[in-house]
Symmetry: D2
Subunit: 428 residues, 4 copies
């Protein structure tokens, strides 16, 4: 049996100071099933983090597990560069049949290195190559990864500071709602795009998340997204939707933009696309923009066959009809109700997000952090988000049962109540 304390010491001795989540959730996890994780002391936790939306179907889904084990046991390929494999073919066929086809998307699938940042880098490079332009418009509080190309598009100052040099090629514009309800930020974008002397160079692409996961669960209004899409078209720019966190059902539909009446030129996907938490990333590209030469963007692990195997099961299990979507709508309401109760406890608190990607801005990172820390002690893994970590964020597996959701919400509300009582007492 694993001894927790000895294990912890090796992290302190040998793991880099860059480690982060383990600092807040200071135990050694050993197994997980569905929406629950277990640590080395046998303690069980409800998971409202879900690998930052990488485990939308929960941990170790039995059907994916079986398919993966069968694949491994039969010496299916683990690594195949970008060779043709049956695993990749099967994935592509499922993805075409159940995802792209029904949504009338003619996009080609580019397998990039299996990280979201790699998909974003590929998307940005491709947009620049297609248009012959450099400038990519990204938004305040956007998060797109921390490799140098993607990091230029990421808003977070702490991550940008890690670059060690100036980040180029991106113009920043205010996201929907950034200046409050009085000022529609798309008007500034429109003005600057139209004004030949605005200093905004003609854009290769406009890149956005429809809900900014890391940036504080800011959900753009459909009409705002639609207007941005129109502006991209009018100005010869590609529209890139970064659906890495908001995709794969997180907002209630497979893609986060399905009901917005837009057709992105490029979509980036990662996190939950393998279904099982395995590294996998995709860039969906409209055929006319599919102009990279062979291996022009490459990477050793762009063919993670294990991930293809589980991804196929995920698609066929959850997306071949609309049952799952309907179920998500119910759960989204349940989460929204729970969070509304939380919001009522804190003066000035604001509901954030959309679908099953929701939270409450409690006004300060300190308070949000205390609530999450208290919740962890009570057996709930939950994290914050936003520029000052001021949003308590729920990213539960989409497959979490209503009962488990209620249980988790109850822990969260208790935690918040205790923290608020303590601070009220301290203030008195």
């Amino acid at each position: 049996m694993t001894d927790k304390s000895s294990n912890i010491s090796v992290f302190e001795r040998r793991e880099s100071e860059v480690r982060s989540y383990c600092r807040g959730f200071d135990t050694v996890f050993t197994s997980a099933q569905g929406s629950e994780m277990t640590d080395a002391n046998g303690r069980s936790y409800i998971d409202f983090l879900a690998g930052c939306s990488s485990l939308n179907y929960g941990h170790n889904d039995p059907d994916m597990k079986n398919a993966l084990v069968e694949h491994v046991m039969s010496d299916g390929l683990a690594h195949a560069l970008d060779l043709h494999t049956d695993g990749k073919a099967d994935f592509l066929e499922s993805f075409e049949k159940h995802i792209l086809g029904p949504r009338k998307m003619d996009h080609r699938v580019m397998f990039t290195g299996p990280t979201g940042a790699n998909a974003v880098e590929a998307a940005m490079k491709l947009a620049r190559k297609v248009t012959g332009r450099t400038n990519i418009i990204a938004f305040t509080n956007g998060f797109h990864g921390v490799t140098m190309g993607a990091l230029a598009a990421t808003g977070n100052g702490y991550h940008r500071g890690g670059a060690g040099m100036t980040l180029n090629g991106v113009t920043r514009m205010p996201f929907d709602g950034y200046m409050g309800p009085e000022f529609d930020t798309v008007e500034l974008l429109e003005k600057m795009l139209s004004d030949r002397s605005s200093g905004m160079d003609a854009p290769a692409a406009i890149m956005l998340e429809t809900v900014q996961g890391e940036g504080g669960l800011n959900a753009a209004r459909p009409e705002w997204v639609k207007r941005v899409a129109e502006l991209a078209k009018e100005h010869g720019a590609l529209l890139i939707v970064d659906d890495i966190q908001a995709g794969c059902g997180r907002t209630g539909t497979f893609f986060s933009f399905e009901e917005m009446g837009i057709e992105p030129d490029i979509v980036t996907m990662a996190k939950s696309v393998s279904g099982f938490g395995l590294p996998m990333a995709l860039v969906l590209v409209r055929p006319e923009h599919d102009i990279f030469g062979p291996a022009e963007h490459n990477g050793t692990f762009r063919g993670n066959t294990h991930a293809f195997v589980t991804a196929k099961v995920a698609i066929e299990k959850f997306w071949k009809d609309d049952a799952f979507e309907k179920d998500l709508a119910v759960k989204a309401d349940l989460i929204a109700e729970g969070l509304a109760s939380l919001a009522l406890m804190v003066d000035g608190a604001k509901m954030k997000g959309r679908g099953l990607m929701r939270g409450v801005d409690v006004g300060s990172g300190e308070l949000a952090g205390e609530i999450c820390a208290r919740a962890f002690k009570k057996g709930l893994v939950i994290e914050t988000s936003g520029p000052d970590d001021e949003v308590v964020k729920i990213l539960a597996p989409l497959t979490t049962s209503e009962e488990m959701l209620r249980k988790g919400l109850s822990i969260l509300l208790d935690s918040a109540r205790e923290v608020l009582d303590t601070s009220k007492m301290a203030a008195e």
Copy 2:
């Protein structure tokens, strides 16, 4: 049963034009074991490519396979962000005990996004942060990945062209032997570093591969590498060894630089580090440079627990004593002999590489390509390398039996002979 032809059609219909290896090896692979791959038609191939050195221990090593299946079946974590897990602890302990400790390396282990490019990006960012400088010196024909930060350091013009914008922050210097044996290129590096008016800004790091895998199997002399390491130290720059392709035993020792008398400040690893071909990447950093704050460089898949499980088995199976190293020395000679025979066939051919990372420069990409294509028809998967793809390159699994190596070499020599005969006939 998988039908090959239908499968192929989905690739043409839906996979991006960026796909590459599958164009040269035009079949659908379905399984693999050790050094052999099998396609949908039941045909078997000897694998002298090994996932570009990502499968140094062959396909589906039985011990790793069993460990992985056991982990999955017991609901071990698949995805855990950078939380503490028993899988990660076990890996770290093995890596410390069998790899770092015996080599007296006090480096900390940074888990980056599971691609080589991500490890390189992290290393470059870190060197800039540590030194407060921007410039990183990289070498002609170096290959470090295609995300924007790493791509700046990559020499290949085709890949650089994919950037769609100017790549910044890197100064290029000629690699060892670049101007032939008469001119020691380290002298130019030394002169430019010392000359206050050379236009070379003070470097944050000097980054090199000891053997340039993609660049044509150019092996640097130990004394050249050592002098570069000294210059880095003298000029306040960090030394980054990119051991992504040359590490994990490929040159005959675990790290490619073990017998060079240097202590790199940073080492990047990926490809074979998981042992099983699963996505995983590491940055090894000397403790005094381990200054990233929590999550300052982050990424969703930096904790691929499946890869930790197989990586631990790989270390304990192959590196706990020197038996494997001794075995590698024998095989390296065997490969060198075979390639010497190939070199004899072609006027002006040159032996390239070191250890089990060897090839023959046959003078033109066309000839090298024809030889590899012919070999594939005969059941051997083998690729080219170099700026003009002029090097026939062997990257067989290190675990390939001598018998299998001989068989593969024999196919290669036959293929070369046939191609050369044909072209000789055509010329007559």
Copy 3:
């Protein structure tokens, strides 16, 4: 005597296609005095362009002329690098006594290469050196020059396109009034500076013109400029006022910002600073920021002694008491009245600018261009401004007599009337 036609042919034969003003004012000018220019055919023109505000004291001011000729005839230095000369000392003493001293400015004077762009480059470099930061905030429709550093801050897309590569290191924000009176753009600046996740890197400087000359005579409100100055201070950024076009009395006071209650850290000057139209540029720097080492920013012509001689005369003639300022207030009103009449002629026309830097936005570049072309035929040199050249702009010498101003305005109004009548007739 100069023959106009032969002279014109050498321009077509040998001068680069980059030539511009000469295309609109297609004659060969041979002499000028005060506010009038004469061409090779003996024709005389009223000058409402004044070298784009480089001739604020008119052409060939007799006192400056005499001083210059005396200097030349007595073998005064023409070129002296940045050696001490009596000419430079005399200029500095006058500038200190009549300009800096009375305004309680303790700034040091940096002589840069004698172009506005060079002064801007020096200012931007210095701000980056002082703060250790890279990002400089500039504004929509700002114009700061076309060398690569300055061009990054310039908004005009046509000029930016001439760069041939991406321009880095500048963040663009909307200038005062950019989104109309409803939305105060300084609020966006404030929000983005305060938001740690806005994607706006901590700025080295905020650089602005108080009236944007090339950008369309957009005059910022004093309270807006003051708030920007406060934000710069709060966020550790330097405030750079680019007073190249708006300075030297153009807005009615020597500096354009005198009545705004701000103390810029850096002020750039050029155009009219020599008084005589001779190349000269200055950067005024607060002593604590005067940290360039000797020659760290240099340039061969940073000591144009001829310009120092005339600049001294200009200061002593016009700025030793407030008589000139009072005179300017009267003329500013006169110009405003004249332009108000013009504005009344065109539906939707808008008055632009401040002081003696005024114009009318007539709604289209075509109309503005036709009015100016017609005026030139009638003997008035006048130009347009703005992103679409839609503003008819008056930059008459500040020394223009009221009578001459009235005469010029009368030509302008006649020209506008004729153009509008013609287009009305065409429409009917």
Copy 4:
């Protein structure tokens, strides 16, 4: 009368710390004629600096002086933007007739802002626009100015450090002789241009000085320059010769490259082009590359009519036949002889330069500085050059009489002797 001491105090009080030459030549100069300068104390100095080659025809040439005074007295234009003026026409006609025509150069003349840096910026921008490429190859120890575009091409680390941010778009290659006589650096350039994996991006231009003035008077061999020119052509790059310091007769012919058998696509000129030390700069462009649109590169002072007037006189006085060139050959020998005597005094000293742009590398900046300081005390203005200021450099006016040259050389040799004696004594 000017009082020296009071004048000096204003420099300390109000001039920026960036001032430089005045620190070494610490007096206040008041007048100059031919090759002599006079200070406020009536002391006279021989000028072997000539405004860093901006005063190739000496101070206040009487013919230029008369022409300029006549122009000013007759109200000739001082400032005319880029309007057609008789002064510009006259200059262009002379330049065509006596300079371009006889040398069979069909170049167009672009008037840029009147600084060398501005000409270089325009040249670099134009090369990028013409080729659609970004990369410009520049050389070790090259000096091209300190504005951000030009500074990227400048080698000097002190000046580069003033940028405050990373300088982009330039690849650095070793100049002729950089690695000693054994290694021809053009071979490295050729290899890197031809190697598709060298990491050198396809260049927009190769930019060089034939003699590096600031970099230490490194004179490239004609065959090296010719080979570079051929490589530029082969690889679709423009050849830019920066003739700002070496042009206008400094090397013995009007252009420094006249006898090298090359035809540069672009030539930059400044410093002595006005003849009188007045700010003026030119870019000469082959007609097929003259593709800037009107004002695409602009600048207020691109029409310094005073400079046109003196420039015309300079051309007609010195360059309408070959008398001046013949005279220069004699003087070049005289300078070379004098410097040879200096070189004999110092162990390991090396002769540098070509034509009337010569010096001696005395091995250390300290020694060179002491020699120049001693010479100044004896009435000779002379400066150092090179990465460590280790070269004693003569840039006397080309019009200096042989007698004055001998006198200056004699002071220099005496100064060197005294300094060397003192240090020898100190050592004993």
